[in-house]
């Protein structure tokens, strides 16, 4: 795993915009960064792929145990929704995709930092933008990236399970360019799978007493949402989730995996696993420095590094062993390893001069050397 510096394409902004990425720059700084790239050996990719498949399998096992145990209190999920979540798991409601955040330096086993299993972002750049970059900048080389093709396959699987005449709705906070880009990309792959798609903002969803509805009052039978479950569960329409007929993608059971409480639960179930970090519901289990994570934190929010002796906060947090990200050219690099249809499907890399990856961390492409 090596970082290479290179000159960005002169018209890179126009090129990525043509592919649907108009959120390439934040605050005057590029978010899509092609002033550098990462080169991986095939053996290193094999390690990442195997670890991702293994971690996803562990996660499914953990969901099974949590559902069978019937107690989701440690995940700070209201009890009202426990049975409804369990039913979604037992029905095998579809979980299309997710993204593990891994710490990996090319030598030691990849370590799971968290699993963005509900509303993973950085999708368009991982699936499409970096692939086109590869074809232009590293022609003839390969990339660990089957995300696009696998997503189409997964939507075809969804199509086989529903009335194919049903329209699939896509929602999120659509006046946010990044969310809109992700939602529209997902709608595009859905339509390439042969389903009809329609986007609407999360606030435009209606309730007619029986069904969630679109702006025309039509019932929404299938809804892809780029909007976290824990937010939906706290809002005015939440009680309707229990009685409505809408099938959600991601499925309700995925909220068990996007919750940071899954980290100590995995460690309890699989202590010492080489791809897991020690994690606990008690700060006192770590004598030295560690990382505190809010169970519902997102994009680095609610993550803080605690020094030895720092008690941190107790409110809806978990603690994880400190595993510093590898540093290349003064940049902390994190690997986003995608799961599509229960299989590892590709990676994207984010960089930041700070040790915690956040919303402003840049996306850097990769190739196989």
């Amino acid at each position: 795993m090596q970082r290479e510096r290179l000159a960005p394409r002169g018209d890179w902004q126009a090129k990525v915009e043509r592919l649907g990425m108009d959120f390439h720059t934040f605050g005057g700084q590029p978010y899509w960064c092609e002033a550098a790239c990462y080169a991986f050996t095939p053996a290193e990719i094999d390690v990442i792929e195997a670890a991702t498949d293994e971690l996803h399998a562990l996660c499914l096992e953990a969901v099974e145990r949590l559902i069978n145990g019937g107690d989701l209190e440690r995940l700070a999920i209201p009890e009202t929704f426990w049975h409804w979540i369990a039913e979604s798991w037992r029905r095998h409601d579809p979980g299309l995709f997710g993204r593990f955040d891994l710490a990996y330096d090319g030598s030691a086993p990849p370590k799971m930092l968290e699993y963005n299993a509900d509303t993973p972002t950085a999708l368009l750049e991982a699936a499409v933008i970096q692939w086109h970059w590869l074809e232009e900048v590293r022609p003839g080389r390969d990339q660990f990236n089957l995300i696009h093709e696998r997503l189409i396959d997964e939507w075809k699987a969804v199509k086989a399970r529903i009335n194919p005449a049903w329209r699939v709705y896509f929602t999120g906070v659509l006046d946010e360019p990044e969310d809109l880009g992700t939602v529209e990309y997902m709608r595009d792959v859905c339509e390439q799978a042969g389903l009809a798609g329609q986007s609407l903002d999360i606030a435009e969803i209606g309730w007619d007493g029986k069904d969630f509805t679109d702006l025309a009052g039509r019932p929404i039978r299938v809804l892809f949402k780029l909007y976290p479950w824990e937010w939906l569960l706290s809002e005015d329409f939440a009680p309707h989730l229990l009685v409505g007929r809408t099938a959600f993608i991601e499925a309700p059971w995925k909220m068990l995996l996007s919750n940071k409480a899954i980290l100590p639960i995995l460690w309890e179930m699989f202590p010492g696993h080489p791809n897991l970090l020690p994690a606990s519901f008690r700060r006192s289990d770590f004598s030295g420095p560690c990382v505190q994570k809010s169970v519902h934190g997102r994009e680095g929010d609610g993550v803080c590094l605690l020094a030895a002796g720092d008690a941190g906060s107790a409110a809806q947090c978990i603690w994880q062993a400190l595993c510093p990200l590898p540093v290349f050219d003064d940049q902390y690099a994190i690997i986003g390893s995608w799961v599509v249809g229960n299989k590892a499907a590709g990676i994207g890399i984010r960089e930041d001069p700070q040790p915690i990856t956040g919303n402003s961390s840049v996306f850097v492409p990769h190739y196989l050397s």
Binding site: V173, D188, S199, D208, G217, R218, D236
Partner: protein
């Protein structure tokens, strides 16, 4: 090969203003003619089939366009209204704005 068919229109989506908790109505009609007399042909929607879902108690009805239940709202001035002649056989109501509060609030401070 990546084929992107719809991404080009992504930035063209407009998000209409929807007050949180706004209640809407749609008039129901026994036949298309009654609906057209109250509104116009392109504002009337035929009975919903099972694929489009819906159905239920009003599955066989024609529907007029959506309008604000509270006619005193400023937004109601520009909606299609309650119908010219009041020929409807009933109406159905829906509420919007019940999702999105947390996302909007976090975006506002973020």
């Amino acid at each position: 090969m990546v084929n992107l068919s719809v991404l080009g229109i992504a930035s063209a989506i407009a998000i209409p203003y929807l007050p949180a908790g706004a209640e809407f109505r749609r008039n129901l009609y026994r036949d298309r003619e009654s609906c057209i007399r109250d509104y116009s042909a392109d504002q009337c929607e035929g009975p919903q089939n099972s694929a489009g879902s819906g159905g239920g108690a009003h599955g066989g009805s024609w529907r007029g366009p959506r309008y604000y239940s509270d006619r005193s709202l400023p937004e109601a001035r520009s909606d299609p209204g309650v119908g010219r002649f009041g020929l409807s056989s009933g109406n159905e109501t829906s509420i919007r704005g019940g999702f999105g509060r947390v996302g909007r609030a976090l975006r506002a401070v973020g």
